[in-house]
């Protein structure tokens, strides 16, 4: 009995607590929360849509806020107190006591350096060409299921693998407190499961875990405590199973209802497509492989006006390649794709996964949109009405892609695609980087436009629930 008491005691001692934390940008308050507490063995997950301030809070605790944001408040790790306004005061904790698993693991790895060296440099007492650290790095990579990948460069890894490399690099220094920032962006369900296992392992080893996510499935898997943030403050908190199944706050209810399996929209029932009409795209016996890796073989399909198709499967299964092949953006090893004359002249439009890289970075958004207007002879009023449909003011077009949120930008991408009056829209993971609420808004706008114009939809996604909510024809790839 005494031993248990002792352990509990130590646990309390080493908890992380935040009596009060605020972050401001000029006069705008981005975060204002009080009384956070993370205890060993009881992970804390903060959910909410983009812009709710949850990532900013994580960075305020790490001490990695950009210089224009001002933090106030304090936090305590065990007996040690830290002032949140002091940026450099926590630097000595980084990697040793306090670690961050960053957003976008693919971008967080140096593209010019082998993976092993990038993991090793996080080890305690690391020196260049440190053999002990390199051995430890190999052990850590082995632990995350990437034995033998140490000599690989980041560009050869999938998103899920890069995520696990970043996990190994963040935790090799033995930090007990792990802050995980939006780990689910663009990950397929299998990769997300593996990551959740790693995070659960960290908690089981006595670590403290703070996860920031908009993915409610991940929040459910991690368990522990859940806080729901909206507009800089916490609206609801409690045990994960209670908050995510029987929410008390109206906002949490809306968040839970934004999961694709619960969608109810005018367009959710499939339209009656004319099965006798000539297909827009007709693929016969198409095959494609990369080296020995067969993506698909001898596949045939017909897409007609008004139909909604989904290609699903895990990352690397070839669903994007199949989509590209169908719309004519990728070459095939065998087979043929016939496209109806109605698809010519830019009447097939593609929405990309990452909207920021599908707009020119240093040009106001107006430029690329006006180009489309000119090319397709659409009028200014059409642009205005489409913008109004997606709920954006026309002034937003004066900004550059980096100055609007990901959700807004993807909605502008929808506007750009619809300006061309397409007969087929190819949405390639177009909402997989957006939070649930934004995903629902974006999908609703896209589907309303698509249904209203009788246009066909081709959806590529790793999310079976999204595919089920939106489409009636599905092809699943990567089934071994």
């Amino acid at each position: 009995m005494t031993e248990t008491a002792l352990v509990t005691d130590r646990g309390t001692d080493h908890a992380l607590s935040v009596p009060r934390a605020t972050v401001r940008h000029g006069t705008v308050t981005l975060v204002d929360v009080a009384d956070l507490r993370i205890a060993p063995g009881r992970p804390l997950t903060i959910v909410g849509e983009s812009g709710s301030g949850k990532s900013v809070l994580a960075h305020a605790l790490m001490g990695t806020l950009p210089p224009e944001l001002v933090a106030e408040g304090s936090m305590a790790i065990g007996p040690a107190r830290f002032d949140l306004a002091d940026r450099s005061g926590r630097r000595h904790l980084w990697g040793r006591e306090l670690a961050l698993l960053p957003q976008e693991p693919g971008l967080s790895l140096d593209p010019t350096m082998r993976v092993r060296a990038q993991v090793a440099e996080g080890a305690r007492g690391w020196r260049p060409r440190d053999r002990a650290a390199l051995r430890l790095a190999d052990e850590r990579l082995d632990h995350v299921g990437l034995a033998g990948s140490g000599a690989a460069y980041p560009h050869t890894l999938s998103g899920g693998m890069a995520q696990r490399v970043a996990y190994a690099a963040a935790t090799i220094g033995g930090a007990r407190i792990l802050v995980v920032d939006e780990p689910s962006k663009g990950l397929d369900p299998a990769s997300l499961d593996r990551l959740a296992d790693l995070l659960a392992g960290h908690v089981a080893d006595g670590g403290l875990l703070l996860t920031i996510t908009h993915d409610l499935r991940l929040a459910r898997r991690l368990g522990g405590e859940v806080l729901v943030m909206r507009d800089a403050s916490v609206v609801e908190g409690g045990p994960a199973d209670r908050v995510l199944t029987a929410p008390r706050h109206a906002y949490t209810e809306r968040l839970v209802a934004a999961e694709p399996s619960r969608w109810r929209h005018a367009w959710t029932s499939p339209p009656t497509a004319d099965r006798t009409a000539e297909p827009l795209v007709s693929a016969r016996g198409i095959s494609k492989s990369y080296g020995d890796h067969v993506l698909f073989r001898d596949l045939s399909l017909d897409i007609r006006a008004g139909e909604r198709w989904a290609f699903t499967g895990p990352s690397g299964a070839g669903k994007t390649t199949l989509g590209n092949a169908v719309v004519g953006l990728a070459s095939l090893d065998a087979g043929s794709v016939a496209r109806h004359p109605a698809t010519r002249g830019g009447r097939v439009q593609k929405l990309y996964q990452d909207p920021t890289s599908s707009f020119p970075r240093r040009v106001p958004l107006e430029g690329p949109l006006r180009d489309v207007l000119r090319r397709h002879g659409a009028g200014e009023d059409r642009l205005r009405s489409l913008l109004a449909h997606v709920g954006l003011p026309p002034e937003i077009l004066r900004r550059r892609p980096g100055q609007v949120s990901g959700g807004e930008l993807q909605r502008i991408a929808v506007v750009r695609a619809m300006l061309a009056r397409p007969v087929l829209v190819f949405a390639d993971e177009a909402t997989s980087r957006l939070d649930l609420a934004t995903q629902e808004t974006t999908m609703d706008l896209l589907m309303t436009e698509v249904t209203g114009t009788g246009c066909a939809l081709l959806l590529v996604t790793h999310d079976p629930a999204l595919a089920a909510a939106v489409t009636e024809h599905r092809i699943e790839l990567g089934q071994a």
């Binding site: 980084w94 960053p102 140096d110 593209p111 010019t112 350096m113 440099e121 990352s315 390649t321 990728a330």
Partner: protein
Amino acid sequence: MSLRIRALGGVLARRGAQSVGVAVLVSVLCFLVVRRLPGDAAYRIAAGRYGYDLVDEKAADAVRAELGLDRPAWQQLGGWLGDLFRLDLGRSLVTSRPVVEEVGYYLLGTLQLAAVALAFATVLGGAAGVLAARRPGGPVDRLATAWVAGVRAVPPFLLGLVLVIVLSAQLGLLPAVGHDSASGIVLPALTLGIGLSGLVARVTRDAVVEVRQSDYVRFAHTKGLAERWVLLRHVVRNAAVVLVPYLGVQAVILVEGVVVVESLFAWQGLGHALVHAVFWRDVPVLQAAALALALLIVTLNTLVDVAGLWLDPRPRRQEARA
């Protein structure tokens, strides 16, 4: 690893084939250009050998007969290409020394000058760029911007003269002209290097600012890596991916365009040799010098490609994958 070796082999094979093509093309062009120059080539060559006052019709005829300048043009061209194929560049029409020796001497001079100038530019510009990138918009950054505008605005001959007046004539630190002592290279190299350092500083600054804002540099910090290791391991290398191809372009400009500075400091380089060869109609030297310049540029591009492969393992052309 094997992928990288294959990529390296590809670069070398491509550049090797390119150099053969360049060699033939440059030789033919040179030959044609020299044929179109006004005046009697035999007369000019004789003048180069014996001096203007001692040349008469007889001497010119002797030169013409000796060098076969009366043969049809295609025979002369064929003879030269055949010799080139056997790697025999012939002898100077003026000095009768083997062209390989003559051009080799000048080539070495040019390479020395270019290498030292590039080193000056990289050290000066690189340091200024890294310092400016610490605080974009700060005083050092603004000073660096002024430096860029300043050194770009001053033409090399003026900068060279200023350096001669200050360092050589006033302070007596360095010799103003010549090729004899090791210190003779400092002034011409400094003139070229300062001129280039401005743009190097600008490119370095932009590359470093961009790399420092990258996710992998931020992650390196939160891994617990000390600032200087972040700089050495991540920032420098990734900034070099941008900077090295730029330095390659600058090296090409240095090799091609140093005639003014070589003349100013009486530096015995290829530019110098080229001007003299054109003047005296020394066709073999002219052709060999032009050839050496052309091949040098192919070599520099090859080096840039290889350095790029070493610095950045990512494939250059990528097919969209699922």
